[in-house]
């Protein structure tokens, strides 16, 4: 399964090479043109010259760590790349750099903690990576300052058609994009795998500037908070209830015609869907919709529990339904189902 391989690949923001190579190898045959740019975005073009020109976007970077210093003891000081809850870091296995040097995010053992330390989360400043070496010199031979670390987790199927693993945000979206690229649409399809979303939507801005499409469809992964301790009104999304349409977040408000198009498409095709009930955080649509003189954008997301952690869960029916919905939206757009210029 491509999704499993994508999930297991290492690719923190700014270090997406492994994911880029995997996708390039997997998909080159399905496109008329494959290119990259200075930031590392990966573009596949299909149906060149057709109208409308549509950009379908999934970011390929994941949250991770960066080595920022050595201790004399050989332990590594690290910084976070993207937003990770400090509380999920301790005691996780990570792979560092191109050679995937293994290490553990270390913290004081429970026996040695003072009572008040046990009740507090350990901050990133007090966490370190232990490579199992005994000196700075040995550590320097294995990893360099600036090397990236990512969680090492084998993706596995679980429960009721679910998948456990890391980096579903947004390799699950990448996998949807990969499937779309294998299909035929009556429009110019630009599948773009963007970089550095997790650190501020950086890849998508330049990609949208370069392509200047008529429409952008962003495939994302979003939090499912349908768990203990949440009220139903705070679930954000519910695992298994289908793809979630973004209405508003910190970076973007969905135009009414986009809401109508997505809802009508889902209902016509009998695809379960839900609305993302959170108005904070952001996606690539935030920057894309503000590029050039404004680009019409839509965001649909795969619900994901424990997002931004080494052990997330997605439901494969949700994934499949996100693919179906994206396909339906592209077909509707190809058939002229969206007014592409002007809202009022």
């Amino acid at each position: 399964m491509l999704l499993k391989r994508l999930s297991e690949a290492s690719g923190a923001s700014g270090d997406e090479g492994e994911v880029r190579s995997l996708l390039k190898e997997e998909l080159a045959l399905h496109a008329e043109e494959v290119t990259t740019d200075a930031l590392g975005n990966l573009y596949f073009k299909k149906g060149i010259g057709r109208k409308p020109r549509v950009m379908v976007v999934a970011h390929m970077d994941e949250v991770g760590l960066m080595v920022v210093g050595y201790e004399k003891s050989g332990l590594l000081r690290v910084a976070k790349v993207g937003s990770i809850d400090d509380r999920v870091l301790a005691s996780k296995v990570v792979a560092i750099g191109k050679d995937r040097v293994p290490g553990v995010i270390g913290a004081k053992a429970v026996h040695l903690q003072k009572p008040d330390e046990r009740t507090k989360a350990i901050k990133i400043d007090n966490l370190y990576i232990d490579l199992g070496v005994r000196s700075q010199e040995e550590a320097e031979k294995l990893v360099k300052i600036g090397d990236y670390g990512t969680f090492t987790v084998t993706a596995r199927e679980a429960g009721d058609n679910c998948l456990i693993g890391k980096a579903f945000d947004n390799r699950a979206g990448c996998a949807v994009l990969a499937e779309l690229l294998k299909e035929e649409f009556a429009l110019e399809l630009n599948a773009v795998f963007t970089v550095q979303e997790e650190v501020g939507l950086r890849g998508a801005g330049v990609a949208a500037y370069r392509l200047h499409p008529d429409l952008a469809l962003v495939i994302e992964t979003t939090a499912a908070a349908d768990v203990v301790g949440s009220k139903e009104s705070a679930y954000v999304t519910k695992l298994g209830d289908g793809p979630a349409l973004t209405l508003m977040d910190s970076t973007y408000i969905a135009p009414q015609q986009i809401v109508d198009l997505v809802v009508e498409t889902a209902e016509k095709l009998n695809i379960p869907y839900q609305f993302r009930r959170l108005t904070t955080a952001g996606t690539d649509a935030g920057i894309i919709s503000q590029t050039h003189a404004g680009i019409l954008s839509a965001v649909i997301s795969i619900p994901c529990r424990y997002i931004h952690s080494p052990a997330s869960i997605i439901n494969l029916d949700d994934w499949q339904n996100t693919l179906r919905l994206a396909r339906g939206i592209l077909n509707a757009v190809a058939e002229g189902g969206l007014r592409l210029e002007g809202i009022a």
């Binding site: 135009p255 003189a293 009022a344």
Partner: protein, 338 residues
């Protein structure tokens, strides 16, 4: 001005859902300009062609609102803010949706009122079940304050004076503008309240020689108000800076000179928080000189925003004089090295 502002204030138009207010404004201006059009962000453009300086005037037409995030089994709606909302101001407010559905805002039981947050509030639209509620309102629908304008003395109270007051001034300016060589792009911008988004793309599209925003600003003339040297009724302001922009110094001087020449009262404005469309305009492309004319407004972002009609008339006079002034580009872009 009074009737126009009343109409604009009472029209529905939160950020991202500006179609209704855009239609109302287009009706008012379409016979006075060479063309009108809209774009993907919901901006409304009105162009008066000319061979002189290319001037963009932005007045944002969006207002703050509440976006529905959840309908519960008993028909109550949970919501989040669209733009800057205070939970304390919201308590007990009447709200209205695009389709005319109305509701009131209630709160959960609360021990201490200062712990009130938006999560503790809900909208009650009179429905008793989720099914009934969903006939009127869907997740993602956006409500605004529902409030009729009141005229009190020479002042007006209502919702969305931020920034329908600016829109009213720009509409009147278009209707009454003297013949000029300048090419004027009046843009009624979208999504200002959520981050100057409409003005960013419209400036990119127009690429003007200079940009001017017309918006409201806060005042410091009410009891125990935060210190600010702007008062209601003492004329429009020429903005010096806010959190989004330091206005171009030459533009600031030009506005002041024009005000003085035409005996228009004006105030200088330094707003320590908040921003306006000029913040996006001046950073577009390789940088565009930008300035702001503001209309003083009390109780900003409440349903009881108050403006003074004299201030609006003077803002209109200043804007018209500026737009028809012969503008030498060398004057607007002084070479700092010369």
């Amino acid at each position: 001005m009074k009737e126009l502002l009343k109409k604009l204030s009472e029209t529905y138009g939160p950020s991202g859902r500006e179609a209704q207010i855009a239609r109302v404004i287009r009706e008012e201006i379409k016979d006075y300009v060479d063309e009108t059009y809209t774009d993907n962000m919901g901006n409304l453009y009105a162009v008066k062609k000319g061979n002189g300086a290319k001037i963009m005037v932005a007045a944002h037409m969006d207002e703050i609102g509440m976006i529905v995030t959840h309908l519960d089994d008993k028909g109550f709606l949970r919501f989040s803010n669209v733009g800057g909302l205070s939970p304390h101001v919201l308590l007990g407010q009447r709200v209205i949706f695009a389709n005319g559905s109305q509701g009131t805002i209630g709160m959960e039981k609360l021990e201490e009122l200062n712990k009130l947050t938006l999560e503790k509030l809900f909208i009650d639209i009179g429905a008793t079940t989720k099914e009934e509620a969903s006939k009127y309102v869907k997740v993602g629908d956006i409500a605004t304050y529902h409030r009729e304008v009141a005229v009190v003395g020479n002042r007006m109270i209502g919702k969305a004076m931020d920034n329908r007051a600016g829109c009213a001034v720009l509409v009147k300016a278009i209707q009454e503008l003297a013949i000029t060589d300048n090419e004027v792009y009046a843009v009624f911008t979208s999504q200002e309240e959520v981050g100057l988004r409409g003005s960013r793309v419209s400036t990119y599209r127009i690429n003007p020689d200079l940009g001017l925003a017309v918006d409201v600003t806060m005042v410091g003339d009410t009891p125990e108000a935060p210190t600010m040297s702007v008062s209601l009724g003492k004329g429009p302001t020429v903005k010096i800076k806010d959190a989004s922009v330091i206005c171009h110094p030459r533009l600031k001087e030009m506005l002041s000179e024009i005000a003085e020449k035409n005996e228009i009262p004006y105030q200088y404005e330094v707003l320590t928080a908040g921003g306006t469309d000029a913040g996006a305009i001046h950073l577009t492309k390789e940088g565009i000189p930008a300035g702001v004319i503001s209309i003083p407004c009390r109780y900003v972002h409440t349903p009881g925003e108050m403006v003074d009609l004299e201030d609006l008339e003077h803002a209109l006079k200043l804007l018209k004089a500026f737009l028809s002034a012969p503008l030498e580009m060398r004057e607007i872009f002084p070479c700092h090295l010369e």
